[in-house]
């Protein structure tokens, strides 16, 4: 199986996205049971904005993270490119 070689600088970016998403999932679950916490909502929205930019930087190296039109494709279609998450 030939896999796309990812440059060294990709890995810290991926970890930063994982860390950012951790903040977001924690705030999501917290807000599900604390819907009036204004400070948490503000932090959620700030991280959601940062996440949007970070995702684009990760995709420059890795290709599309999502499908159904939530990511753009290069030519040829690169959604199916290895490595998949369990191969990294």
């Amino acid at each position: 199986m030939t896999q796309k070689q990812l440059p060294e600088e990709f890995y810290p970016l991926l970890e930063e996205l994982q860390a950012t998403d951790f903040v977001l999932v924690e705030l999501t679950l917290y807000l599900d049971t604390h819907p009036h916490d204004q400070a948490a909502i503000q932090q959620f929205n700030e991280f959601a904005h940062y996440r949007h930019q970070l995702k684009l930087r990760v995709e420059e190296y890795y290709g599309p993270l999502q499908q159904y039109g939530n990511s753009y494709s290069a030519t040829p279609w690169n959604w199916n490119d290895s490595p998949w998450p369990w191969q990294i």
Binding site: F22, E26, L29, T33, I88
Partner: protein, 189 residues
């Protein structure tokens, strides 16, 4: 509708194959208190639970699928490139005979996953207590596996998953209070 994101929720690093550890981890893949059971339990309960906690069940249920992918990744990496003989020596001969290195939803003793693991009573308090218990059982299972594992990389990922169970349990406890408050309010009218 769901979206798949092409990344793990938390890194899974494996330095060396360890089929014995993989055998134990399958419990969290297709066992009673594993991640598949968790995801299907919460997402299925959403349809009969009061609106106020549907978001929580949706979000935790979705996160469980990310955990399922992390467990699959551990098993995949721990058994990759092993020979049949190595699988047999680790007590995985039966599994290898049936599936080679294909994953199967079963527990560590090879009992196939069953819908009987997923309770749905249709009563919000009963269902949420079920969910709290499920999270605590999953937390305990992660702890027992960590106790048996000497792989620092896998243990790092397992400790992340163990802590997620603690957070989920906490959120479900809060959901119980939200439901109780709601039920008490309704009595006033």
């Amino acid at each position: 509708m769901w979206f798949y994101e092409k990344k793990l929720q938390y890194p899974v690093r494996v330095k060396e194959c360890n089929p014995m550890l993989a055998k134990f981890l399958i419990e969290q893949y297709g066992g009673a208190d594993g991640e598949l059971s968790a995801a299907l339990r919460y997402l299925n309960q959403r349809y009969s639970i009061p609106d106020k906690v549907v978001g929580l069940l949706t979000d935790i249920g979705t996160e469980e699928f990310a955990h399922l992918e992390m467990i699959a990744t551990m098993i995949y990496k721990l058994t990759k490139d092993l020979t049949g003989e190595q699988m047999r020596e680790a007590g995985l001969g039966g599994r290898y005979t049936d599936h080679d290195n294909g994953l199967f939803y079963e527990n560590t003793d090879r009992t196939p996953w069953t819908a009987a693991y997923v309770q749905a009573k249709g009563d919000p308090i009963a269902d949420l207590y079920e969910d709290i218990a499920a999270e605590e059982k999953a937390r305990a299972t992660y702890q027992w596996i960590i106790n048996m594992s000497d792989d620092p990389w896998i243990n790092d990922s397992l400790k992340f998953l163990r802590e997620r169970e603690v957070v989920h349990s906490q959120r479900f406890r809060e959901a119980v209070e939200i439901i109780k408050e709601d039920q008490n309010t309704k009595k006033v009218f």
